[in-house]
């Protein structure tokens, strides 16, 4: 099996879709000559030309909004919002338009639009370039929400997002772009709505997303040395949510930790905890622990930044707290 970086895996899904399907095209800031601020779309301009790899003005509302209009007319646009902090500028189009057109029209239209974006801390960007906002979109009926953590997943899920007939907000994590991993020769579409069990275990389930999947795996290895067997599950699609896989895991392990980089309060971990405590109430031997950023806008200075965002040790400590319960 070939090895790709997470960045290459995103690019591979994009270029295959562009190659196969004339209705697919890209819009976003600096995605053409520069290949995107994360170098994800490098080379695509050369292969597909400026009609399909479209640099846009700094107009996040119009980028998403025109994507919606083109999607309704039968195209499959993939738009890029350079940092997810700037999704804040397109919320109206995402939430009132993309998510609602189908219901409001009584099923007359569909909006096969993919909105790729990325974010994540750990490189001292300060408060406006690293906020993780995925939980907002989980609250919006009509959207689908994906957050992929490995090269294989990001490729297979992006493909499915592009070919889904609904608007999909697709989160990538900035610190994962250089991450390498094996991927199948042929692109395997990964259905939206299926969680992935990364590691089996019997004592506690960590449900993690994005960068925290990797931190959870590291924490799991460390815990193993103390004889704690950790199962790590990545929902991958946050909406619709694969409750079945997640709940089954917790019913097996009887303990649960949720982990993401977003701040804990109001984060996706809250939804997970609410679902799990409800569905696995009689199985839980300890309160569900939530790991995430501390409640502050991200400060610049590295020492403060590292204090705010969750680390492997935070996951490990949460694992330990759950197993410490009688």
């Amino acid at each position: 099996m070939p090895e790709l970086t997470y960045r290459e895996a995103v690019r591979d899904a994009l270029s295959r879709a562009l190659r196969e399907d004339e209705t697919v095209f890209l819009m976003g800031e600096d995605i053409a000559e520069m290949g995107g601020s994360m170098a994800v779309t490098q080379g695509l301009l050369d292969e597909f030309g400026p009609k399909r790899i479209r640099n846009t003005p700094i107009s996040e509302m119009a980028i998403v909004g025109s994507g919606i209009g083109a999607a309704i007319q039968g195209m499959r646009p993939v738009v890029e919002i350079m940092y997810e902090d700037f999704l804040t500028l397109s919320m109206e189009q995402l939430v009132n338009q993309a998510a609602k057109h189908r219901t409001m029209s009584g099923g007359q239209v569909k909006v096969p639009l993919t909105i790729r974006t990325q974010g994540g801390a750990g490189w001292s960007p300060g408060a406006q370039h690293a906020q993780q906002l995925e939980s907002w979109f989980v609250h919006v009926p009509g959207l689908k929400v994906v957050f992929a953590s490995t090269p294989e997943d990001v490729r297979g899920l992006l493909w499915s997002a592009i070919y889904d007939d609904n608007p999909v907000v697709f989160f990538e994590h900035r610190t994962l772009y250089p991450l390498k991993g094996e991927v199948p020769d042929e692109l395997e579409p990964i259905p939206l709505g299926k969680a992935r069990v990364h590691r089996e275990g019997t004592d506690v389930t960590v449900v993690a997303t994005g960068r925290l999947v990797h931190d959870a795996l590291t924490a799991a290895e460390q815990a193993e040395k103390d004889g704690i067997s950790v199962e790590v599950v990545d929902p991958r699609t946050l909406l619709p949510l694969d409750e079945e896989t997640i709940v089954a895991s917790v019913k097996k392990t009887n303990r649960c930790v949720t982990a993401h980089e977003a701040v804990v309060r109001g984060g996706f971990g809250a939804e997970l905890a609410a679902v799990i405590q409800h569905a696995a109430f009689d199985w839980l031997d300890a309160p569900i622990e939530r790991v995430g950023s501390k409640f502050a806008p991200l400060p610049f200075a590295p020492v403060m930044e590292q204090y705010v965002i969750p680390q492997v040790e935070d996951v490990l400590a949460a694992i330990r707290r759950t197993v410490a319960r009688a």
Binding site: G69, Q93, S105, G106, G107, V109, D165
Partner: protein, 342 residues
């Protein structure tokens, strides 16, 4: 949808008397439809939140007559006229207002969300300026596929203050997509008069186009012929590849912002005077020299249609409660390994 024979021969030509009578009938139909909507709302029969466009009929009729069926529009909270003029049968609109399955949005939309994709109505929008960027995207799709179609956004003077408007105009001009931006300038945003919300004098709002180098076409929005000819010219320009057009139409709202609006903020004399001098239907009646008899028989015809639409709507089917969840997502598509998609 009014069809005007001379359409093919655009470029300053005048509309025949026949053509004008067609406009008159459609505008009257829109007027009577909306009056009926007001009446039924006051009678407590219609749920929700309603905005009528009484006084603005020439805009809807004139613009839509210049469009082809495959052209698309996006409308606003004040959507009945646009929807009728784009070709949705009034009984399907009335049924929508009654929340019926037979409605043009199958009861999911209501007055502020009238859709009829088959005739090119991509939906009315209850968020001011919310529909404009979608029109840029529709026009982009037409351009990319080399289709001779235009995409048209209706919006008001108030909407030109929204960032969404700016980004859309800018992007459309940058990419020279075949879009028409129809600025339906009635000088009010709800209770707020133009001088309280526009830094430009109300009649100079077309200057918004200058910030993008966009083609501006202006016409008297109370004169349906002028609107029609201007819209034809706009369509021609948009399709020529020279870029989109801001079509600035000065018009007048003869009634409140919403049905039931007591208009406390508006001078009673001004309302009276505007009604007396700016009614596009009255203006056209005078020009056509329709006498009382002609008018009465036309009116009876139109009223019968409107009454029939109410009957149709009332006899319609109520959605089932659980239908609420039926259209949240488009159904899954088949997908093969390696990506075949169909």
């Amino acid at each position: 949808m009014t069809t005007v024979e001379e359409k093919a021969g655009s470029g300053g030509g005048r509309v025949s008397k026949e053509g004008l009578r067609g406009f008159f009938r459609e505008m009257l139909l829109i007027r009577r439809f909306e009056e009926k909507v007001e009446e039924r709302f006051r009678a407590g029969e219609l749920p929700g939140f309603l905005h009528v466009a009484i006084g603005q009929e020439a805009v809807a009729s004139g613009v839509c007559a210049a469009l082809e069926r495959e052209d698309v529009i996006a409308s606003t909270h004040r959507a009945h006229g646009h929807s009728i003029a784009k070709g949705t049968p009034i009984e399907r609109i009335m049924a929508e207002l009654y929340g019926k399955v037979e409605g043009c949005s199958h009861g999911y939309g209501g007055s502020m969300h009238l859709y009829d994709v088959e005739v090119g109505n991509l939906g009315a929008n209850a968020v001011v300026a919310g529909g404009i960027p979608g029109i840029v995207g529709a026009a982009l799709a037409f351009q990319m596929r080399g289709e001779q179609r235009v995409a048209v956004a209706f919006f008001g003077d108030g909407a030109t203050n929204a960032g969404t408007f700016h980004e859309s105009m800018n992007l459309a001009q940058l990419w020279k997509v075949p879009a028409i931006f129809v600025l339906e300038n009635n000088g009010w945003a709800e209770s707020t008069p133009a001088k309280q919300h526009l830094p430009l004098p109300v009649d100079e709002l077309g200057k918004r186009a200058l910030a993008y180098g966009m083609k501006l076409i202006e016409a008297d929005g109370q004169d349906v012929e002028a609107v029609y000819l201007a819209a034809l010219a706009a369509r021609e320009h948009a399709l020529s590849g020279s870029g989109p057009v801001l079509l600035h139409l000065r018009t007048y709202r003869l009634v409140g912002h919403y049905v039931g609006d007591p208009q406390v903020y508006r001078d009673k004399e001004e309302i009276k005077k505007t009604k007396a001098t700016k009614d596009p239907i009255e203006l056209l009646r005078a020009r056509l020299e329709l006498d009382e008899d002609e008018l009465a028989s036309l009116d009876a015809e139109v009223m019968a249609e409107v009454e029939a639409s109410v009957e149709f709507a009332k006899a319609g089917t109520d959605p089932k409660p659980e239908d609420a969840l039926a259209n949240v997502y488009a159904p899954a598509r088949k997908m093969d390994r390696g990506g075949l998609h169909a």
